[in-house]
Assembly symmetry: C2
């Protein structure tokens, strides 16, 4: 891929001994400007190529939510992990949104697919963005080792992490998720999103459904860590970790599923277990 | 003080093994509704009366900024510290604001004083609120030990922490600050705020100026910890840690002033050193 000459630094700020930066570029995949944050731990100053963890955010989020509230930087500084947080959808002039402006489709809700349905096909190409363009851009501009990339995410972003980790195990060597949507083909959020972006032929949905991917023979690079709040209001209807547990058990995939008593779906939950996930990835990268 | 029957829970969420709550009540001091957050560490469930740290926020902030970005909860859970974050000013119908809506006076900029100037005198009584009403309310509703209270804050809130800690050493037993305004009587932010709230008689300002308080014989309960980012754009004109250093040296006050290389004025700075401050207070409470 040719160097991206549109790459620009929005801001940088020292944090936990490293550098928290916000960056922007014109994406070839989405045809829009895309903003993301990168935390470089202090180990980056020594010139080493470091492992990198991609974090995919949930519905309504931009890069900023986890950047502000995720509490990942101390653990990344401890373990020498670069942390990259992209946006959840294309944005800007000409980017189609949900017809009623709902939170669970369109802007802030790209579901990490390449849309085939109009009017979304033009810009909603988050699958290509996250799996191809962004890793290449990060490798071009930051001291990362492309052989040591991991992926995680929350809710819709947990769905993205699982589907991407299962599809590209040679690229993403470690995989975890916080309260992921594990089977969009079987839940309302997924019906709306996959139907809207990919059309009503459900065969096309299976490539973007972690449980279906496992059923269809896809396997992650290693084991999977999933944390799920037991008091999460979306657990029973939208998230369904039981479906992932059954699929992994049936397929012999090594899943550590932790139901965390009393935790909800918010960043209070995510930030409580973020350090565990950073360490999990560090041990595998 | 009679029990506050207006106290209500806005939200609670499990975090780092404890409970992060947002609460609201009708303040007698300010005559307005006031919102604040409280983090109860897991030790609270055992029924113990815990030490409490009050955190005063800086210009433009509400309780939410530090609650979202402060990264204090892991350290509070580790050390068994209750963390309380109030708002920075009264708000609501009838509350006067800066005539031009500036960020450094009026709403979001109460400067932790009891205003004597109109139209601010009616509601801008953050001194009474933070030193009297809020601690009593916290003691009424949460398992805290009123003999073990500490105070800290950022920027304008660091000013509040220092002036309150110096004025009430029997009440606030431990004292620290992040990038505080140490001498409002000598810097532009302070001239505007103290002039606007207290009038142009500068004698009245000395009770709300940490350097002047030390010069006038006030002493903290113990030593003071101050962290200051060396790359903070407000350092030289508004914050002036050199003035605090000189006053403490002259008065024999034990000040640990740490100039942190490369850090700015943001929550990236605060969150990087928050755990140090929590530990500092825990060791003294």
């Amino acid at each position: 891929m040719a160097p991206d000459s549109t790459f620009e630094t929005v801001s940088t700020s020292k944090a936990h001994g490293g550098t928290l930066g916000v960056y922007r570029h014109q994406s070839t995949a989405t045809g829009t400007g895309m903003t993301f944050s990168v935390f470089l731990p202090p180990q980056a100053e020594a010139g080493a190529k470091l492992p990198v963890l991609f974090y995919l955010s949930g519905l309504t989020c931009t890069h900023a939510n986890v950047t502000d509230k995720g509490e990942y930087r101390r653990a990344c500084a401890e373990h020498g992990i670069v942390f990259v947080a992209p946006d959840t959808s294309p944005r800007g002039e000409g980017v189609a949104d949900d017809a009623e402006g709902a939170y669970d489709f369109g802007l802030g809700a790209g579901f990490y697919v390449n849309a085939t349905e109009e009017p979304f096909a033009a810009h909603y190409r988050m699958w290509d963005y996250v799996t191809q363009e962004l890793p290449a851009l990060i490798e071009e501009h930051f001291p990362i080792d492309p052989a040591r990339m991991g992926i995680t995410g929350h809710s819709m972003g947990g769905h993205g992490a699982l589907t991407i980790g299962l599809t590209f195990p040679d690229k993403f060597k470690s995989l975890s998720a916080f309260a992921p949507i594990v089977a969009p083909g079987q839940v309302p959020w997924g019906h709306k999103a996959l139907g809207g972006y990919l059309g009503q032929d459900r065969a096309a949905w299976r490539a973007h459904d972690a449980v279906a991917l496992i059923e269809d023979g896809k396997r992650p690079a290693g084991d999977i860590l999933v944390d799920q709040g037991a008091a999460d209001g979306f657990l029973a209807e939208q998230l369904r970790p039981d479906l992932l547990e059954a699929a992994c058990k049936s397929a012999g995939v090594d899943l550590t599923l932790r139901l965390q008593d009393g935790y909800d779906h918010s960043y209070n939950f995510i930030s409580s277990f973020m350090a565990d996930h950073i360490r999990w990835h560090a041990e595998r990268l």
